[in-house]
Amino acid sequence: MWNTIVNSTPEIFWAGIKFTIPLTLISFAIGFVIAVVTALVRISHPKGNPIFAGLWELLKLFLSFYVWLFRSTPLLVQLFIVFFGLPNIGIQFDAFTAGIITFSLNTGAYCSETVRGAISSIPDSQWEAAYSIGMTYRQVLFRIVFPQALRVALPPLSNSFIGLVKDTSLASSITILEMFMVSQQIAAKNYEPLLMYSIVAIVYAVFCTVLSIAQYYLEKYMSRYVQVTGE
């Protein structure tokens, strides 16, 4: 048994380095950008030119639809539609790209709600104080509100991030050779499913633990201004 562990663990780990981690990092980075853009558009109130305002409302409607769609359907089904379904209408991706697209859109939908909530949690008085010194909407948003909102959003965003690490195991179903897929293949050969799936579970746990530790330090840094030492 010891031999099996020593032989297969590096192989599983390597699949993690090659697929699980890139899938997670790239998808989360893209998903975060989607989330922020979606949240900012959805909280905005366009004024002025009525045609522009009308188009903007349409965009907001479309983004609400997007968030609803990806939050109300299973991730596995989304993966299947993008990888196996879309080729039927002539849209074809390789498995890795299909994975990135689906995971990004999925995590973007969830995180946009997190970011939107965090921005709304910053009191109006912060907007007013910033406006009162003559800042523009954009300056208030990016210099005053967003940095504070990010602190609020960090724990739920970390949840989504850690969730994504584990969700990438679903990529095995669209032929991506990530960790879970590799452990399945090894188990099929050595008839040690309990051992193989335990190993892969532990490797996932290791990745997630590293992330949780990073989250702890990031949270501490982002909360540097809230600790009250009093006077």
Partner: protein
């Protein structure tokens, strides 16, 4: 000079400002008094364009705002730079240090060089007795200190007027005195100010002009001497109500 003519602000179910006509002279301290809910904050916040009355004219020095029209963003920003605002609950930016709170506007709105903005900020901190707090965060200071910082934040923009909305209402008497002391110094240096307050002693000693507001209307507009020494019946009741 600030001059308001026929200014009207209507909320769905409340007439908050009802045909306001008033002037706030330059280099003087106008104190706005009145019962709670009278429209004092609405009036003050209209000067900084945080509230938008539906009609009337607002003139601040060489700038005229027509409330009945949609205001161009450039004008809104210009008027806000002319009018510093100090809030009842100070509203400092919690994620920025004291120095950054004060220099945020000068650097990013007025585009001053950082070194210059920081030098001015340090000078202002000295004036309010808080030199040395530059690198701390607002949450590490007391309410009275935070309010003095927020006065520095407004002053750093070098505004033509500073508007105070009950700047000491959330403070203990001892901390209140420190803040009022700063206001007194500003008044003596001929800073143009409009102050909403419930502190009658401040109104009597520092104001050059008193405006009494009730139910969205201006019920008195005159000198502190007239206001306190020859009050109308209504003002008499109001002043009595302030005592126990």
């Amino acid at each position: 000079m600030i001059r308001l003519e026929h200014v009207d602000k209507q909320y769905a179910d409340h007439h908050a400002l009802n045909d306001i006509n008033v002037e706030f002279p330059e280099h003087e301290t106008t104190v706005i008094l009145g019962p709670s809910g009278a429209g004092k904050s609405t009036l003050l916040r209209s000067l900084n364009l945080l509230e938008r009355p539906q009609s009337g004219a607002y003139q601040i020095n060489d700038e005229t705002v027509d409330f009945s029209k949609e205001l161009p963003t450039s004008q809104i920003l210009r008027v806000r730079r002319k009018t510093g605002m100090v809030f009842q609950s100070w509203n400092l930016f919690p994620h920025l240090t004291i120095l950054q709170n004060i220099t945020e506007g000068p650097i990013h709105v007025l585009k001053q060089p950082k070194a210059q903005a920081e030098q001015v900020a340090t000078e202002l901190l000295k004036q309010v007795g808080l030199d040395g707090t530059q690198h701390r965060y607002p949450s590490q200071l007391s309410g009275g200190q935070q309010q003095r910082i927020s006065i520095c934040r407004a002053l750093a923009m070098n505004p033509e007027y500073i508007l105070f909305d009950e700047p000491t209402s959330a403070l203990d008497p001892e901390l209140e005195a420190q803040v009022l002391h700063v206001l007194l110094n500003l008044a003596q240096s001929k800073q143009s100010m409009v102050v909403v307050t419930h502190n009658m002693e401040f109104a009597r000693r520092v104001a050059t002009k008193i405006v009494f507001v009730e139910d969205g209307k201006i019920e008195f507009d005159g000198t502190p001497a007239e206001f306190f020494d020859h009050p109308t019946e209504r003002i008499h009741d109001f002043l009595n109500g302030m005592q126990f």
